[in-house]
């Protein structure tokens, strides 16, 4: 025997159960996202992606290059659109005439090179696609000095495992942008320090005077406003210890091949 007040119409029950279920699922997923152990589990994706991509990809496999007809009409500028330090602004004022790139760390012969000296070195031109972690892409033409030429000139120590790029854009007091790549990408033929974009001088919003291109990874690895290049055995020594500004500030993957 049932009574009016006790009967829960099945449809209402099912709807309620479904809504409650999805609510539980959502808060459950959010709780898992915050859980340290589960975060560690989710990091397996990054490790698998890096391992698998390095396994199937030749070290020197080139990122696709495009023709001038394929170029984006407007190349979106994202992240910092200028350097932020008084020194950087002074360099902008005199058109980077007294600016010098430093290359140091675990090298036998630390270097300081002016923009004119960099531009006098052999350079590479490439029309490539820039992929933002957010999902958009833009195709542009870059010309710059291959990073491997600079590293060879400075004479890397055999202990070197990573190359760290120190940048002039500040994201908070004492929080400059920086990035790091390993030697596979550092010696890749398309890895250049670009000083020209779309046949002109590299614009400030795209990282003047010098911007890294590391074409097989996502946009946040392509450090702008590069002031100093440091060879190191471990990127954990720098800043937040995760190898880059976005890696430190927002837990982005260090390997950004996907």
């Amino acid at each position: 025997m049932t009574h009016r007040g006790l009967v829960l119409p099945r449809r209402k029950f099912l709807t309620g159960a479904a809504l409650g279920g999805s609510g539980l699922l959502l808060s459950g997923c959010d709780a898992l996202t915050e859980n340290a152990g589960f975060r560690q589990f989710l990091r397996n994706g990054e490790a698998l992606n890096k391992g698998a991509q390095r396994l199937i990809m030749d070290r020197s496999a080139l990122a696709p290059e495009f023709s001038a007809a394929d170029m984006s009409p407007t190349f979106k500028a994202n992240g910092s659109v200028t350097g932020d330090t008084p020194e950087y602004n002074a360099h902008v004022a005199d058109k980077f005439a007294r600016w010098q790139l430093r290359i140091d760390g675990m090298v036998r012969k630390p270097l300081s090179l002016s923009l004119a000296q960099l531009m006098a070195m052999p350079s590479r031109e490439q029309i490539t696609r820039h992929d933002c972690v957010e999902g958009w892409s833009a195709i542009g033409k870059w010309r710059g000095t291959p990073l491997r030429l600079l590293l060879n000139q400075a004479g890397m120590s055999t202990k070197t495992r990573y190359i760290v790029f120190h940048c002039a854009d500040m994201w908070a007091p004492d929080v400059p942008y920086y990035e790091s790549i390993d030697l596979i990408d550092a010696f890749h033929p398309q890895t250049i320090l670009a000083w020209s974009m779309n046949d002109g001088v590299l614009p400030i919003r795209h990282g003047a005077p010098l911007r890294l291109r590391v074409e097989r990874q996502l946009g946040y690895k392509h450090a702008k406003y590069v002031m100093r290049i440091e060879a190191t055995d471990d990127f954990k020594k720098f800043y937040g210890g995760n190898g880059g500004y976005w890696e430190d500030a927002h837990d982005y993957d260090w390997y950004a091949g996907i």
Binding site: M1, T2, H3, R4, V7, P9, R10, R11, S22, G23, L25, L26, S27, C29, D30, T33, R39, F41, L42, R43, N44, G45, E46, L48, N49, Q53, I56, M57, D58, A61, L62, A63, P64, F66, D70, S72, P73, T74, F75, K76, R129, D131, C132, V133, E134, G135, W136, S137, A138, I139, E215, R216, Q217, L218, H250, D251, Y252, D253, G257, I258
Partner: protein, 286 residues
């Protein structure tokens, strides 16, 4: 037991263990992939065709907000979606200007990196499980015996007959319900051998490293932004499949159907009764 002897009410072994394991792995994995994927989409809620695409380029799908109005713009046609898409309130009542709302995404708040971690880790589960299931199904005869569409079934008359029977919600009974019908076969083959591979390979095509490793991916899908659009369309088709799948399970007898996907045992249906009792008696003393 001879097939001819099967009658409504008989309990048969319907689903193999591999099918049941893969089914539930997929149910969980695809839900996580969809919801984390929608969060990733929120980082740039615009879709393009071709190699490149960013804010100033022509998009065929945009979800955005303008003032107090949320909207979806599909090939230039704008539909207002305030409250659901483009602009909505989170559980604390705070107005958010993002494409997909909190209840559709993992995580529920905006967190691109966390969503990417969920997406890529579960992508491995999806891809490895699909590969194992394909191999197992080829090996154990599932493809040959259960999914293969025979010559007779391809006749337009036969297909039309099944379509009209489905439209009248008249499903096979007794021995005829032992095997998948042509519409089931087409949907399952479409999901296993077309949609899931498509969504995996368009996903890989968005990876700059994969473009260097396998440049042919860009030629197949017509560019990274085309691949991103196709990835979204494939996800949409999988949601459509899921909705029809759910409707069919409910109409064909949800308890029997769900049980068969858990234990493998399936009771051959007779006349299918309506899924819900009429609500008329409710409140009446029984």
């Amino acid at each position: 037991m001879e097939q001819a002897e099967l009658k409504p009410g008989d309990v048969i072994e319907r689903h193999r263990l591999s099918t049941r394991l893969w089914h539930w792995t997929n149910a969980l994995t695809l839900l996580v992939m969809l919801m984390s994927g929608l969060m990733i989409f929120n980082a740039h809620p615009r879709l393009y065709w071709g190699q490149y695409g960013a804010n100033t380029d022509d998009a065929w799908l945009v979800i955005d907000d303008a003032g107090e109005v949320g909207f979806v713009e599909f090939v230039g046609v704008r539909m207002e979606t305030t409250g659901v898409l483009g602009i909505w309130k989170d559980p604390e009542g705070e107005v958010k200007r993002r494409a997909f709302p909190h209840w559709m995404t993992i995580p529920s708040g905006y967190d691109l990196q966390a969503a990417r971690r969920w997406h890529f880790t579960f992508a491995w589960i999806l891809a490895v499980a699909l590969m194992l299931y394909m191999l197992r199904s080829l090996w154990n005869g599932h493809v040959r015996h259960d999914l293969h569409i025979g010559k007779r079934e391809w006749s337009p008359r036969h297909i039309w007959h099944d379509v009209t029977e489905h439209a009248r919600l008249r499903f096979p009974t007794g021995a005829a319900a032992k095997d998948y019908n042509i519409l089931q076969k087409i949907s399952y083959i479409g999901v296993i051998f077309i949609l899931l591979p498509l969504i995996i390979f368009t996903g890989l095509t968005m990876s700059p490293a994969m473009n260097a490793a396998w440049p042919i991916l860009l030629d197949i899908f017509g560019g990274r932004q085309s691949a991103r659009s196709l990835h979204f369309i494939a996800a949409f088709l999988l949601v459509a499949f899921f909705l029809v799948h759910m409707a069919m399970v409910v109409l064909a007898g949800p308890i029997n159907e769900v049980r068969s996907m858990i234990t493998g045992k399936y009771r051959l249906p007779g006349k299918i009764s309506p899924p819900f009792e009429p609500e008329l008696q409710q409140g009446e003393p029984v």
